[in-house]
């Protein structure tokens, strides 16, 4: 082997180490273009998200929400950081935002909670709220969690699917049987059943949040079963949508409005709209009212309790006026005390009544769902 001077090799190694240590700054330098030119803003708000801001899904929705804050509060400086992993790097990124003057930080991924709590503890004058997870035990004065009820718009989307299907077979591609997914699938089927008692939802699990190869095969396996409406609970959604469009099937979207990918088959979808909720949280903090407020808790909002950040997407060309009217009616009903996708009687797949007639389960009970309702085809892996 040609003899490279040892000093040169050591220098090379050292520079690699320095570059690696400096990469944390790179994550934030990428976020600097997101800040406004410093006016005399005295409050700064920071957003961190786990993925890229144009992922056509979860993280893009957070970014869009952050831009709503920017336009609603022109005096506020808004910092954003993308691709923040769910580990200590998140804490470092949040610290850097605090150094730039952030007084309110939104940590928007499920796995950011530990870092968020750590930062909140070290900076009692900064409010850190986290999206999607739950704080166990005592909730510190300067933190809280928030989330919407994902399955309510899925119920409404189910109505659209049930009304539009010609084969009475709907398909659901999902990753893991977590309670949120189970509630989504059940709500979808219940919505479909409410307008079409014959409709059934066939479920297929890819055991992955994003494996396009498996998604393609899953979509094909559903389509080969005469399913004519496809939906999914996945992080990357375009494969299933395009597979449905190619086969002439209809699509119900998730996370983001992907109607551009399915111009003919798009029915509607359940999409994020964080603007109103973020705005309200920012208003609360700016007014100094955070401590003891509803956000200083594990805050969950649905149609009953406020503005659900999960909303129904725009309708596609094939949704009839009659169906749209039914959906509007259902949405109003969900906002009442008796309204719920899971208002009893609800039976599980074996026919046993699991929720009695007249009972309306709470949001907490729905968050712990562990069975498929009747009409859903597929085994729930335990």
């Amino acid at each position: 082997m040609p003899r490279i001077p040892r000093a040169l090799a050591a220098l090379l190694g050292l520079s690699l180490v320095v570059a690696a240590c400096g990469s944390d700054d790179e994550t934030d330098t990428a976020s600097d273009p997101g800040t406004e030119a410093a006016g005399d803003a005295d409050v700064t708000v920071g957003f961190i998200y786990v993925g890229p801001k144009d992922d056509f899904g979860y993280n893009q929705a957070v970014y869009d929400g952050s831009q709503v804050i920017k336009s609603e509060f022109p005096d506020l400086e808004v910092l954003t950081a993308e691709n923040v992993p769910e580990d200590d790097t998140a804490a470092t990124t949040m610290e850097q935002m605090i150094d730039k003057g952030a007084k309110l930080i939104f940590a928007t991924s499920y796995g950011h909670l530990d870092a968020a709590l750590k930062v909140a503890e070290e900076h009692p004058d900064v409010v850190v709220v986290q999206q999607g997870n739950t704080i166990a035990g005592d909730i510190p004065e300067n933190s809280g969690t928030y989330f919407g009820t994902v399955y309510e718009p899925m119920y409404l989307a189910g109505i659209a699917a049930g009304a539009s299907t010609k084969t009475n077979k709907l398909g659901y591609v999902y990753a893991f049987p977590i309670p949120q997914t189970i509630a989504n699938i059940n709500a979808f089927e219940r919505g479909a059943q409410s307008v079409n008692p014959e409709a059934e939802t066939i479920t297929v699990s890819t055991s992955s949040w994003c494996d396009p190869g498996k998604q393609q095969a899953a979509a094909e396996s559903l389509l080969s079963q005469d399913v004519d409406v496809l939906t999914q609970h996945q992080d990357c959604t375009s494969t299933v949508i395009q597979a449905a469009e190619k086969a002439g099937a209809m699509t119900v979207g998730y996370h983001a409005d992907a109607s551009s990918l399915a111009p003919e088959g798009w029915l509607t979808g359940a999409v994020w709209d964080w603007g109103p909720l973020y705005t309200d949280i920012v208003k609360t903090v700016l007014a100094g009212d955070f401590v003891g407020s509803k956000y200083n808790a594990n805050f969950r909002v649905g149609y009953k309790t406020g503005t659900n950040p999960f909303v129904l997407a725009d309708f596609g060309p094939d949704v009839s006026a009659d169906t749209k009217a039914k959906i509007e009616e259902a949405q109003a009903w969900l906002a009442t005390d008796e309204g719920s996708p899971f208002a009893g009687p609800v039976s599980d797949q074996s026919g046993k009544v699991v929720i009695d007639d007249g009972v309306v389960p709470t949001y907490e009970e729905n968050d712990a769902m562990d069975f498929f309702v009747q009409g859903v085809v597929g085994k729930l892996a335990q």
Binding site: F56, C210, D211, G213, A218, E220, T239, L261, V377, A381
Partner: protein, 299 residues
């Protein structure tokens, strides 16, 4: 159901066939390239990006070939000129590919690409059963049907194949005859990377019409394993690739039909199937490999 499973096997297996054959070529020349996964990802992103940018998926395929080869060049240099450990370098190259494509691929997540059109062969595609399984796919899949026999022919019936195999079996002998074993290995690794890139390109622009970070989900590593379990034989490799993707299609079909089988068993099915079948069929396992595989040749 059998028809659906076999169609799925062919549709999903193409990328694996290309990547596996690429790795086979490299290993026959004596180099293990675990960077196949990275090359597949580079090919997938390059094809997707160029396909979107130019609107022509075929230009994307060419870009995919080039990108896969480019990443493999890193592996070739480190392994053939600096004599670094092949396994370690391969893994590092894979991670490099994963990271680079995740970074540069951000702009393309969620965007639609002009797909590589499906060529439905008139007449033949109407055949009952075989029609949809074999004659209703994209052009790269049709190419993959011939790739296995083609590689087998080149390996055993041409002089080029003989030189390639010699580099893997006894590079000293090759040197005596005046051919540089190192040059042969370079070309083999580049060709392997290009084929892996082709597999990735097919995956993103024909099979799934999607780009997302790490979308090959370990297929590159499966390809490397397939090469070993197929006993370095191209036809058995192609068979193994179709078997693997067929098992994936099967487990998803079973789910769609509501079969009550544990999800975990269904997940393991593709890997177990390939392991069992190829292990049974292959009598000469690791001992059947090229004699100079992984050995550093001081050329």
């Amino acid at each position: 159901m059998l028809e659906a499973v076999l169609t799925g096997a062919v549709a999903g297996g193409t990328s694996l066939v290309f990547a596996g054959l690429g790795e086979l070529v490299a290993e026959r020349a004596g180099v293990i390239n675990l960077g196949t996964e990275g090359s597949m990802l580079c090919g997938a992103l390059a094809a997707y990006a160029v396909g979107i940018g130019t609107g022509n998926p075929w230009l994307g395929v060419v870009a995919g070939l080039a990108a896969g080869a480019a990443l493999a060049a890193v592996h070739a240099f480190l392994v053939l000129h600096r004599h670094a450990n092949q396994i370690a370098v391969g893994l590092v190259v894979s991670f490099l590919g994963l990271g680079l494509t995740a970074l540069f691929g951000q702009a393309y997540v969620g965007q639609g690409v002009e797909p590589l059109a499906t060529w439905t062969i008139p007449g033949l595609s109407e055949l009952p059963f075989l029609g949809s399984i074999l004659f209703d796919h994209d052009p790269l899949t049709y190419l993959s049907f011939t790739a296995g026999p083609l590689v087998a022919y080149v390996l055993w019936r041409t002089r080029a194949g003989l030189v390639l195999r010699s580099a893997g079996e006894g590079p000293e002998v090759l040197e005596i005859y005046g051919t540089s074993a190192r040059r042969v290995r370079w070309l083999a690794v580049l060709a392997g990377g290009a084929l892996a890139g082709l597999g990735g390109a097919q995956l993103s622009t024909a099979a799934t019409l999607n780009w997302s970070e790490g979308m090959t989900v370990g297929r590159g590593y499966v390809a490397v394993a397939l090469v070993i379990f197929a006993g370095w034989h191209p036809l058995k490799l192609a068979g193994g690739a179709y078997l693997f993707s067929g098992a994936i299609a099967l487990q998803l079909q079973l789910q769609a039909r509501g079969w009550e089988i544990s999800r975990y068993l269904l997940e393991a099915l593709p890997y177990v199937t390939v392991l069992v079948v190829l292990a049974l069929l292959s009598q000469r396992r690791v001992h059947g490999g090229p004699a100079a595989l992984q050995k550093v040749f001081e050329g």
